[in-house]
């Protein structure tokens, strides 16, 4: 699944017209706003509905009468307890974190270096290189996973953590490249020239001048890479064994095979996690240079 970074630029000057809509002549204005409201509900409601249902005291996926009456007995933490007590879920959380963090480190280091290289003037065949570096992001994941299954198995990396880490790093690296490149585009090259003319070596220039300025971009690229790995299921499905079970893999078999409300508790956890990522990226974007 390709995650896309939202707008990376600064806020535009605020339009002066406020909410008066061009699409909506006065008579249609109500219909237009109602339509928009309906679309926002369509976007968000399916996600929000999971949260209360995860506290259902009964093993159902719908609101019981007690829940609608707000009867406290109709709510419980039983599904959360079930997850905490279940080694399959806790183990998959550990796997997801280990794989996600490792893949993020690899992707961030390689992706940042490459973005720095691509930003310098006079890189030959820049467009082609960029295309190659971004290709894992546009290739349908089923194709990537199929190719990786054959290739990694041939190397003896099938059903190993290392294989999945490398695969996830590959899928996450385009996001780092794209994010850091965007940060660098807003970056004033005169700063590095100034540093160089004051006698700083390339390494010092990088560490003391460039890195602090692009750090927000690097970190948000890393968050993207982590989110990609943390949500990836197809590669794990093809290449992973029992020992590489991650949270999405565990959810996948949960959904396909026996959907228990425990899944809703995991889903709630992931929603909170996504919200935190969203906040982090928004905060970093505000700190970006330019």
């Amino acid at each position: 699944m390709v995650k896309q970074r939202p707008d990376g630029r600064r806020s535009p000057p605020a339009p002066a017209v406020g909410t008066a809509s061009v699409l909506a002549p006065r008579m249609g204005s109500f219909a237009y706003h109602a339509l928009c409201a309906a679309v926002f509900v369509f976007l968000v409601a399916p996600i929000l509905v999971i949260i209360p249902l995860s506290f259902n005291a009964e093993p159902y996926f719908t609101f019981t009468e007690g829940m609608l009456r707000l009867d406290p007995d109709a709510y419980s933490l039983r599904w959360y307890r079930e997850i905490i007590d279940n080694e399959a879920w806790t183990g998959s959380l550990v796997n997801s974190l280990v794989i996600g963090v490792s893949a993020t480190v690899v992707a961030t280091v390689l992706g940042t270096l490459a973005a720095l290289g691509l930003a310098s003037p006079g890189v030959p065949a820049r467009r082609v290189i960029m295309g190659i570096l971004i290709s894992p992001m546009v290739t349908p994941v089923i194709i990537s996973a199929a190719g990786m299954f054959f290739f990694y198995s041939n190397l003896g990396l099938g059903q190993t953590h290392l294989g999945i880490i490398l695969a996830h790093a590959t899928l996450g690296v385009p996001f780092v490249v794209v994010t850091v490149t965007a940060t660098l585009a807003a970056f004033d090259r005169n700063l590095t020239r100034a540093a160089a003319s004051l006698g700083a070596g390339p390494w010092t220039t990088f560490r003391r001048v460039q890195l602090p300025l692009i750090a927000p971009g690097v970190i948000s690229g890393a968050l993207f890479a982590f989110a990609v790995s943390f949500d990836e299921v197809v590669v794990v499905l093809f290449m992973g064994g029992v020992e590489q079970r991650t949270i999405p893999r565990q959810m996948w078999s949960g959904i396909r095979e026996q959907i228990s409300p425990a899944i809703l508790a995991v889903a709630t956890f992931l929603i909170v996690f996504a919200a935190l990522l969203l906040v982090a990226v928004a905060w970093l974007r505000r700190r970006a240079p330019g």
């Binding site: 976007l43 570096l133 290739t139 994941v141 190719g147 299921v233 093809f238």
Partner: protein
């Protein structure tokens, strides 16, 4: 090292550009090599498998060589039977017979068990030299299984014995090579892939249109809202965008299933009766709804970034010149928003033709797309060559669209609208 400062300066000047280039390449190289190994080589392996399969040629080399001289109509000569029997029984001992049998079975259904049983039975049932007629090996094999008297069996060995083959690509477009070498369409009941490609395109098109219809108004609303409210509304788009795909798919199962939230609401307000609950999930309907939800942010975000750049004065200018709001929209606003429409639509379309997870979980049997068929051949039928060929065709399609996208929007802006 001689020469004056002037000369050194010129030298340095001449060297500077290449050195900087070298440094830049040095920074890019690790990732380029990494992607080359972990990704490009992996894709190459898959594509290689779609045209190259040495299993039968390696296990039955002499039989395959002898069959090159066979006319394809009458039964092969006794020497072919004798060689085949020897090589089959060796493949049985070396435990490669399963793979050989799997390969020939793809050309001629039912041959897997013929091959495995023949290899097993040959150990105890070699022909009796004393009773030998003119063709003892032929008689012995046919006695084991009548399939050995069918030229189609030998055709299957000959076809799968080619190390390099176009068979998988032919099969992927519902064609096959007949024993006489001509290419023909598959029999009616085996034509499934073109239909599936077509269905995938239709579904992707439908989802793109749905996303545009739903996404355009809200992108417009966000673009024209005051900054504080715009930020809030943008969060409503970004929350689903950041939420795990599996979570969103789970939500739709919870909402759409027969005893699910939507049906409960419909029953509660009396729109449907309790035993007339709607079957919305495990079907194409489920796939369409869930995929539209998953992909909608990918439409809204590029639309929003383009619309934000359209000066509102243009519309008021059109209005002051006497245009009705509809005219003003069609003549002034819509053309200026087209780059966003193009980018969003292409992105949604590219993503949806490769979609796998959501159709697999909520699609039932009629909501499956081409990716699900690739997964089926990867994991269940193990026809990896065919999976590679289907994947190769899909890959070419996606890359073509990707190049169009690059032309229109620029790849490095893939994630940055």
């Amino acid at each position: 090292m001689g020469g004056g400062p002037g000369r050194r300066g010129r030298l340095r000047g001449a060297m500077r550009v290449p050195r900087e280039q070298l440094r830049a390449l040095g920074l890019v190289a690790p990732l380029l090599i990494f992607i080359g190994v972990t990704f490009i080589a992996a894709l190459a392996t898959m594509l290689m498998r779609s045209v190259h399969d040495p299993v039968v040629a390696d296990a039955l080399p002499e039989t395959v060589a002898l069959l090159r001289g066979w006319d394809g109509e009458r039964l092969p000569a006794e020497a072919v039977y004798e060689t085949a029997a020897r090589e089959l029984s060796r493949a049985g001992e070396e435990r490669t017979i399963g793979q050989v049998a799997g390969r020939v079975n793809r050309v001629q259904g039912g041959l897997r068990s013929v091959f495995t049983r023949t290899a097993r039975d040959l150990e105890d049932e070699a022909p009796d030299p004393a009773a030998a007629t003119g063709t003892p090996w032929r008689d012995a094999l046919i006695a084991l299984d009548t399939a050995w008297a069918d030229p189609a069996t030998w055709h299957a060995i000959r076809t799968t014995g080619e190390r390099f083959t176009s068979r998988n690509y032919l099969n992927a477009v519902d064609m096959d090579r007949l024993p006489d070498g001509t290419i023909a369409r598959q029999p009616e009941e085996r034509r499934i892939y073109l239909r599936l490609f077509w269905r995938t395109l239709l579904v992707s098109g439908a989802i793109t249109i749905l996303c545009l219809l739903l996404g355009y108004p809200i992108a417009h609303l966000i673009a024209r809202a005051p900054p504080r409210r715009a930020a809030l509304l943008l969060v409503l788009v970004l929350v689903p965008f950041w939420t795990s795909l599996l979570v969103r798919t789970t939500s739709w199962i919870v909402l759409l299933q027969t005893q699910g939230v939507i049906n409960d609401i419909l029953v509660a307000i009396g729109l449907v009766s309790d035993d007339g609950r709607l079957a919305m999930i495990y079907s194409m309907t489920g796939t369409l709804i869930a995929m539209t939800h998953v992909l909608l942010p990918f439409m809204v975000l590029p639309l929003y970034s383009v619309m934000r750049g359209i000066p509102p004065q243009h519309m008021s200018a059109a209005a002051s010149l006497g245009a009705t709001p509809l005219q003003a929209f069609l003549r002034v606003y819509w053309p200026q928003s087209l780059p966003g429409v193009g980018a969003g639509a292409l992105l949604v379309f590219i993503l949806s033709i490769g979609f796998y997870i959501t159709p697999a979980l909520v699609g039932g049997s009629d909501g499956q797309l081409i990716s699900n068929m690739i997964a089926y051949h990867m994991q269940t039928s193990l026809n990896w060559g065919l999976a590679g060929a289907l994947g190769g065709i899909l890959l070419v399609g996606v890359l073509a669209l990707y190049m169009v996208y690059d032309r229109l929007v620029g790849v490095e802006r893939m994630g940055l609208h």
